[in-house]
């Protein structure tokens, strides 16, 4: 058992390790101004953490993302359950939600920041609004996709609303809710960076921008790498939570989605 997990890990990790090693070697004696040696970049990263206030920037950014995402989850799941439960409402707001799907949230960055200032609150608001949509769409699809057989049983046993929400709707929709949260996390990170580059006294985006504007190339690379690491780590944490929460879903045979009836896949509304 253990040898096979070790082998699986080795199989997944040899290439990333090789890539990083190759970057070290390729940039080791780099005379290029724009591509400094990776060792220097990492040293700059450590320096920025120790004396450059990068930790404050990191905390500022992370807090904005987490608060915004939390608001988005509450609002998105709440509205999604309501809309997903009502066929009428779902059909009525479909085109509106489709239009929002194609509205670029980054376009609201100048609108919000030039109106409400460069502080933390407008950024949290932006992240919350932008991250709500993917969770909302997916919750609607998840709740709507619960098999009619389950619905009928719930109705015939007259399961009270609270119990139905906690034991049927939320668990039933949770795989899709998590898929939505994953998309929202990506959206939040982009909004975080864009809003901080656009106008902010601190934050990771601001760190990278200031470093770039003052031609501190190693610092710029260091910040960029840090942002990449943060993005990947947050995704990993989310996946771990998802496995924890959705462990039951993988042990059961998958729900019959298509056979269950009329659910038109989201991509096929054109007809």
């Amino acid at each position: 058992m253990t040898t096979s997990t070790v082998r699986a890990a080795a199989l997944q990790l040899w290439l990333p390790v090789l890539v990083v090693a190759a970057l070290f070697v390729a940039t080791a004696n780099s005379g290029s101004y724009y591509f400094p040696p990776l060792t220097e970049v990492l040293a700059a990263l450590v320096d920025a953490f120790v004396g450059g206030g990068l930790l404050d920037d990191l905390l500022f950014s992370m807090r904005n993302v987490l608060v915004g995402l939390a608001i988005a989850i509450v609002v998105g799941v709440g509205l999604g359950v309501v809309i997903g439960e009502s066929d009428r409402l779902r059909v009525a707001c479909q085109p509106f939600l489709d239009l929002m799907r194609s509205t670029p949230m980054v376009a609201f960055v100048p609108v919000f920041i030039l109106t409400f200032g460069i502080g933390s609150a407008p950024k949290v608001l932006l992240i919350a609004i932008g991250a709500t949509w993917p969770i909302l769409w997916n919750t609607i699809a998840g709740v709507h996709g619960i098999s009619p057989a389950v619905r009928e049983s719930v109705r015939s046993y007259r399961i009270p609303a609270g119990l139905r929400l906690r034991k049927v709707l939320l668990p039933g929709a949770s795989p899709q809710i998590f898929a939505g949260i994953r998309i929202s996390l990506a959206v939040s990170l982009v909004l975080m960076i864009v809003s901080e580059i656009y106008g902010s006294p601190n934050g990771l985006g601001n760190f990278v921008l200031v470093a770039g504007n003052s031609f501190r190339v190693t610092d710029t690379w260091a910040g960029t790498i840090l942002i990449g690491v943060i993005g990947y780590l947050m995704t990993l944490v989310l996946i771990a939570v998802e496995h924890r929460v959705l462990g039951w879903a993988r042990q059961r045979p998958p729900r019959e989605r298509r056979a269950a009836g009329a659910r038109v896949p989201a991509g096929k509304v054109a007809a």
Partner: protein, 277 residues
Amino acid sequence: MATTTAPAGVTSQARRAPRGTWSRLRRRGSQAAFFAAVLVVWIGVRRLDLLPELALPDPVAVAGEFADLVTTAAYWTAIGETLRSAVFGLGAAILVGVPVGLVLGTYPLADRSTRVVVEVGRSFPVIAVLPVLLLVLGANLQTKGTVVFLACVFPLIIQAQYGARSLSAAIEETVRSYRIPRLLRFRKVVLPAAAPSVMTGLRLTSTMAVLVSIGVEILTPVPGIGGEIVQGQLDGNSPVAYAYILTASVIGYSINQLSQVSEARLLAWRPPADLDD
């Protein structure tokens, strides 16, 4: 084709998609009513002055501004600038991402070895490379195209990989027992099998390309829709900014509809891949 006797309000009985003209009319009506309700709320917020006008202008003013803008050359130039870089970046991403993804997905060893690298690439908020690119390339079309490319290439790899991987074991065995040559197998087995998933990737990334272009235009002096939004907002003329945001939504919406139609056409022989994940 049985007509529904139960009123549509009864939830789980009316679950199948409405078919007749009457129900379609009703559906359209409810959708129009929803848009109207959104507009009423919007106007209400404006009239009660719940938000500053710079954040949320009057919808009538936005519509008027939109009508004015459509006749100007600057408007179409901005759209052209945004679309040009989106098309360049996306095109390059397709040329690289789809073949790479298909090859990776076909061979389990390659598939598993590259998983972490691809995942890191996908979870990276690509717009963060902008300061580095501004240093290396400067604020120009190349930078914009490169950011679009980086944003689109990983989702495309993943979708193509996923599609090639989804080949069923039975087909795999058949191909092997008949010793189908590699190229033929690629063309006639892997490609068709992966097509729905790749099309989904194309649909997702084509809207993403426009979005990323606009993001870069907001943050740099490179011209385009994003630049016009910033300019409108800086002039204190939020209806202009909103007219351009609306333009961006309409562009995204049209791309989405267009790719859905073409997807349905091209893949009429099989159901579209699921959007989720």
